[in-house]
């Protein structure tokens, strides 16, 4: 019995050591990334204050862009959203709206509003897609930049592939049609393609922020507000942390694995050579970036991905748990699918930083984190049942994690304050601060639960996005 007890004690010690090691590793990695991010952000803003983006507006040498906006059942907002896409500050661009077999009257609205007529377009598809029913252009010269493609339903990735096949310009900008773009977003997104430094820039991505309760006028964001509801409010904080303290550092290290599907630009030639969007995954945005990078590395072509920390795109975050759960479980499925499709890269020195750092980091801290956390909770419950919990240490450990979580959110708030200062109202700052205190008890368990559902769905073989209903923005 004594031997048995000492065995249990040994395993408990090992378990605690592993948990502590994991916690310290994840916390240190967050802090290192935050440090790198703030340095990079400071440097970027300094440089940016001397950049005149208007030179791109007047230059015939500005990169030519094709905006691809897949739309599915967007009848309620499509007219205004397309109008806002057509009025961006840029000259060398066109807009390709791909109606992905909407069941509503999106197509009728587009035809009527923009005076569209069927047109013959010489398309030589490089990627296999669902059948195109028709390609439309406008009779009105004011909408000459607009191309509308009506196709059979095949999902977002398939719609984006149709856009890739049709795009005439060398760079494509893939966006969610319901996103609110900053007027200068294309200028900022296009600039890195001109700064090659001997490396081919294959993609650029910007920061996405939460627009719930913000005021939108004529398709433009005119007033930034922090949501009253706690779920979207905490997501504001979460996005600040992810984009300002995480992705900026990965961008600097050139180890970015993800350019948000809501707004990112790609070198069309490389995207096509890599095979376009994978229609079998729900994380098509991440998967394409990984595949493009893999293609470049395997073909030994020097390349880089550029990350722009400016808030260029505003999106609506889920306000109720049901939608939130669907979104997060899908994100988890997307992560699992991408990591599993490219498992060859894991700790493979052939793939340099990507294989040795980015992929292992995502595996350990994004894919496995919910499972490790859940295991921790389960074991704690077992310890509790068997009276093995040392309450004093347990509470100290909880406080340790809680205080770190708050500190990290405050770092994000400080970073935002000293850089973009998008939330100038005092009340908004305190709302976010309060959210930082509540998040570990309220939001974090929900996010973990949704991620676990993602595991379950992946195991059960669930496919597709599921219906994602949006409430719509506050309009002025």
């Amino acid at each position: 019995m004594t031997f048995f007890n000492s065995e249990i004690t040994f395993f408990i010690h090992i378990y605690l050591l592993l948990i502590l090691g994991y916690a310290i590793l994840i916390m240190s990695s967050y802090l290192i990334l935050a440090h790198l991010s703030t340095r990079a952000l400071k440097e970027y803003l300094k440089k940016n204050s001397f950049v005149d983006y208007n030179v791109l507006l007047t230059s015939q040498f500005a990169p030519k862009l094709s905006l691809i906006a897949p739309a599915y059942n967007e009848a309620f907002t499509i007219e205004e959203n397309v109008k806002s896409l057509l009025s961006l500050n840029y000259n060398n661009y066109d807009v390709i709206v791909v109606n992905d077999g909407s069941k509503d009257n999106s197509m009728e609205i587009l035809i009527k509003t923009y005076d569209l007529v069927l047109t013959e377009l010489d398309i030589q598809p490089k990627i296999k897609t669902k059948k195109i029913k028709g390609v439309y252009t406008s009779r009105n010269a004011a909408f000459k930049k607009l191309i509308v493609v009506d196709k059979e339903n095949g999902g977002k990735a398939d719609a984006l592939n149709v856009g890739l096949n049709i795009a005439q310009h060398p760079y494509v900008v893939c966006i969610d049609v319901d996103c609110i773009l900053d007027k200068d977003s294309l200028l900022k997104l296009a600039k890195p393609f001109l700064e090659s430094h001997g490396k081919r820039i294959i993609a650029t991505g910007g920061v996405v922020r939460i627009a719930n309760q913000c005021i939108i006028k004529n398709g433009r964001l005119v007033e930034v507000n922090i949501p009253d509801l706690m779920l979207p409010r905490i997501q504001v904080l979460e996005y600040l942390r992810a984009f300002l303290l995480g992705r900026m550092a990965w961008g600097r290290l050139d180890g970015l694995l993800l350019i948000s599907g809501a707004f990112g630009a790609f070198d069309k030639e490389i995207a096509l050579l890599a095979g376009g969007y994978d229609t079998k995954t729900v994380g098509e945005d991440m998967e394409l970036v990984v595949r493009m990078r893999r293609y470049m590395l395997e073909n030994k072509v020097p390349y880089a991905i550029s990350y722009i920390p400016d808030p260029l795109c505003w999106t609506e975050a889920p306000e109720d748990f049901k939608i939130f759960k669907k979104q997060r479980s899908r994100w988890m499925r997307g992560t699992i699918e991408t990591l599993s499709l490219h498992k060859k890269m894991f700790l493979n020195p052939k793939y340099k930083l990507l294989g040795m750092l980015s992929i292992p980091y995502w595996t350990l801290f994004e894919f496995l984190a919910p499972a490790i956390e859940f295991t921790g909770i389960a074991i704690t419950v077992v310890f509790f049942i068997f009276g093995l919990i040392h309450w004093h240490f347990f509470l100290l450990l909880l406080l340790f994690v809680y205080c770190f979580a708050i500190m990290f959110s405050v770092i994000a708030l400080y970073s935002e304050e000293r850089t973009y200062h998008k939330y100038p109202k005092q009340i908004d700052f305190f709302k976010l601060l309060l959210a930082a205190f509540i998040e570990p008890f309220y939001f974090h368990p929900l996010a973990m639960y949704a991620a676990l559902i993602g595991y379950k769905e992946k195991i059960m073989g669930t496919k597709g996005w599921g219906e994602m209903t949006r409430k719509g923005f506050t309009k002025k």
Binding site: F50, V55, S59, F61, L396, F404, F429
Partner: protein, 273 residues
Amino acid sequence: MTKFWELYKSGVWVEPFLLLSIFLFVTTSFILYLLIIKSRSSNIRKERLRVEYGILIEKLLFSIVFQDIPFSGISEDPEYRRLSKNSFFREVLMEYIIDLHKNYQGVHAEKLEEFYKESGLINDSLKKLKSMKWELKCKAITELSELNITSAFKSIIKVSKGRNKTLKITALNAGIKLAGTKAIIHLTKHTNPIDDWTQINIINAFKKHDIGDTEGVELLLESQNTTVIVLGLKLIEELKLTQKIPYVTQLVNKAPNTLVKYEAQNLLQVLSI
């Protein structure tokens, strides 16, 4: 290893480690919170001062530009005398002068340039130009070129030969404003590639500052650096310099590579239309 394991197993370190970490996290959070509050208060204060200074500066500049009041008159103003040594006031004053100077030409612009020199603001810019910080150099270059200080041209061109790209673009832009093509002639000997962004900025500077005399642009076509040749071709195309056709024809015949040859042939077609 055994010692480490024993120490770990004894658990004596756990409590101090956790307590110390918690203390550090709480302290850092609190300090950051205070810094946020300080930053917000400082922003509010700066905004208030900017409005306050703006009223006085507008009055002063109006009297210089439209009422022909000399600097000696301005320097006697008690408010100006009180604030003229304040660095933030000088910063706001500089911004106002630059903004106003952009909108005026001729005698009004000259009066502002005179004030810039007499008030000693030019010395601030020259001091910044010698700074080790590239961002201050950039600021100085923008100020000096906007106020047409041609005597700074040489120093600006020297800066443009540095490695910092932002500084290089700012300096080339400023040099073009002050002396046109003279600012880019040295690029013919440039060994590193000039990326598209820098090229677009150079072209834009020519267009923006309406540089009429393009004598010397053709020299870019003789460079050993392909990107400099391409810049020359783009400049000729964008500024529609048909008088440079003979040089482009010459380039077609002795192009260093097929890409340049192709670009030059294309340009000839465009210019011949």
